[in-house]
Symmetry: C2
């Protein structure tokens, strides 16, 4: 090889060459945390309307009962399972987030790998390695065009997720370098997804499609279904079509030395991230003063907090996810900030409505986006001063392993009170010791 390898070729070489032994232990541990979070959000989303409708439609065309649907008793073919499990995981805004790209990295990748694990033997280490590599590929492809790509309206979780699903699936089916380039090319020409669809079921089509089409890209490449030699940077390739000046060194520099999965955040609350430090304060207050009557709440935070979430009058659960007034009121009224606090019903709750009008927002440049201060006045005239320097779940104050397990348990309980999440949690924790993960997804199914 005389020429410097192309960008796609370098990525392919990296994915093919990397072994379990090359993965630092903290990276492997983070992959387990991403899976724990994934199962939590997949259980939370598995019975939502977009999943129900897409399943009803796909079942008419599907053949095999090859693969498990998380949280459901139906089985379906592997491609459709990848679609539906990815769509379900991303219905709520509760996924993990790679903050520099705003990619939700695990939703498009893990479902493809779990479906494959029901078609062929996959060990726990294989699964974690493929998840780490898929995550790395999609994050780096996205980093080269961030933030402009997302800013224009491309749903980056979908447009880049398809590469992650292809790379991870390609690792599991043991593609060689040339085949891996083909798989990434097949992913490139199927890459799609518009932010215009956020807030509607149509979002699920591109997220689910990323998982399905990425998986299929790898399966086709294994068969010899070839494609262009440089799909990312070719003269009519991915970056050129997007009309982006891609920062190409970002895609390949330091591959195998740094790991983008380490930059993943997990959300404690299913709402806009800028609201999170405020909720930390309000929930702490309510824990210590469960019955205090609140007469006024003054929130101070980064200007982004008010720019994005100063919405005193919202009418739907979805809108409420970006209303700091609603979030504060719901947390005060219920002592919680989970999925139940961001529903249409909660938005209409008179107790929440009454509190919503008591919330005021102040902009203060002294706060970072992960910090906030909240002054809560109670009926006795006392002003309770709370503050949070770094929101729970942010990069400098990550959720603990126990927090993530709790997130999974709470999501599971909201979906089926009789379900015991312990075997699933244990299995994720012991993944690196499992010789066969074909039953992992079925641990997330009610009996």
């Amino acid at each position: 090889m005389l020429d410097k390898p192309g960008v796609t070729e370098s990525l392919a070489r990296f994915v093919v060459a990397t072994r379990w032994e090359d993965i630092p232990s903290e990276v492997a541990h983070q992959a387990k945390r991403s899976l724990m979070n994934f199962f939590a959000v997949a259980l939370a989303g598995c019975r939502t309307s977009p999943v129900e409708m897409a399943l009803r439609s796909l079942a008419e065309f599907s053949g095999g009962k090859q693969a498990t649907l998380i949280g459901r008793r139906e089985c379906i073919d592997a491609l459709s399972a990848a679609f539906l499990n990815a769509a379900g995981a991303n219905v709520h805004d509760f996924c993990d987030t790679h903050l520099r790209t705003v990619i939700h990295p695990t939703a498009p990748v893990a479902p493809a790998l779990l479906a494959l694990a029901e078609l062929q033997r996959v060990s726990g280490r294989d699964l974690l390695l493929a998840l780490i590599l898929g995550n790395e590929v999609q994050a780096r492809i996205g980093l080269a065009i961030s933030p402009s790509h997302y800013g224009r309206g491309w749903h980056i979780t979908s447009t880049c997720g398809v590469f992650g699903a292809a790379a991870g699936s390609g690792k599991l089916v043991a593609l060689d370098e040339g085949q891996m380039v083909w798989a990434l090319g097949a992913a490139a020409t199927q890459s799609s997804g518009l932010c215009e669809c956020l807030g509607t079921p149509a979002k699920s089509l591109s997220v689910g499609g990323a998982a399905r089409n990425g998986l299929w890209s790898a399966l086709l490449a294994k068969q010899g279904f070839d494609g262009p030699g440089e799909p990312l940077t070719g003269v009519q390739g991915f970056y050129h079509a997007l009309n982006e000046t891609a920062d190409l060194p970002v895609v390949t520099n330091g591959l195998g030395e740094s790991w983008e999965i380490m930059a993943t955040s997990y959300k404690p609350y299913p709402c806009g991230f800028v609201i999170h430090p405020v909720l930390d304060c309000v929930l702490d207050f309510r824990r210590d003063h469960p019955n205090a009557e609140v007469t006024r709440v003054l929130v101070r935070g980064n200007p982004l907090l008010s720019m994005r979430t100063d919405r005193p009058d919202v009418s739907t659960g979805r809108e409420s996810q970006v209303s700091v007034q609603h979030a504060v009121a719901a947390a005060l009224a219920t002592g919680k900030a989970g999925l139940d606090q961001f529903t249409d019903a909660c938005v209409r709750d008179p107790a929440v409505l009454a509190l919503r009008g008591k919330v005021q927002i102040l902009r203060d440049n002294a706060f970072s986006t992960i910090a906030a201060a909240v002054d809560i006045t109670t009926a006795d005239g006392v002003v309770h001063k709370l503050s949070q320097a770094a929101a729970r779940g942010s990069d400098v104050n990550p959720l603990s392993d126990v927090n993530l397990e709790t997130k999974l348990k709470v999501a599971a309980a909201g979906w089926d009170r009789g379900y015991d999440a312990a075997p699933l949690i244990d299995a994720i924790g012991a993944l690196d010791k499992s010789a066969d993960v074909s039953r992992l997804a079925s641990l997330a199914v009610p009996h």
Copy 2:
């Protein structure tokens, strides 16, 4: 409705409101011609390697035997049939072409409609109307961003074809206006395809995907799977994400008054269009002088002819499609310019190679891109002067109905010598009198 309707809404309204009675007879006739050409190219492509590989893979996941694969005895689910029939039709560069956008309009639309016609009752008039409307929607969406969109590397047949498949399928399943907007939104967020993949099997993924995903978009919309209200022109919608200054009036002006299907060209030869007037001359010469030994060929044509096709040394069938030297030599050697003249074998044929070196090209601005002059010198020293002012198949010299029937018969004979194409040709001709077209595709299957 106080506000002016949005672009997507206007398209949706047009598709829903238009009836068979609104279609001028020449437009309906052109739709039959497009179907005739479609079956010809689908029969030519149905056993190519991309179709074989994709079928082998999809069959593992597919359920029903709902829909016919053109030219094949296998049946498969409707979504996969739409994918495979579209992919097969577009494998060769032999499709119909909407010249102003370079969209190959029928490949992504007709397979979706034919698959639907095996799921529900569809009359011949329904089929033709849906084909005309799907064609109209995709052409207009593409016209607004032509030629820049294709120029950047987007495979416009795929990126816009998905809208055509969604609109046509939506017409057949009788979507209302709101549902039609949802279907077009579902199409928008699944729109993909890169020209970088041309010349490789990966091209088939986006063309097939356009048909499959467009069909699925309509089926989901019928179920109530909703999406954004203005997916084309929303602030994070299709045109904005593409970073295109779309000429929006082109999308909606004169809807129902002019018909883009009338601007469709059908190719007599499976090679670059600029070579066609040259082949007209060479084939006429060979018809009149079947045994003359040729010593020299001087071709004069528009500068685009030499810019795109002056390739004296090609080594593969695919490259030969854009080599005027090869095309002339193969036509002289065989008296034909069909699929067999653009194969790897023909490129290596010593008789063709010997003639290839005798071809010279001259640029002449006096020629339009559909005109050429060819001086052929024979061993007796005579110079035969031939010229073509408007290539056969161009907009001003369209293929006749008989030419298109012959194209279908030749394609069918190249695929199965025992197959009788007459019932299929008759059925296409009588489509407007057919109450049920569920058997149409099966007339293109060997017995």
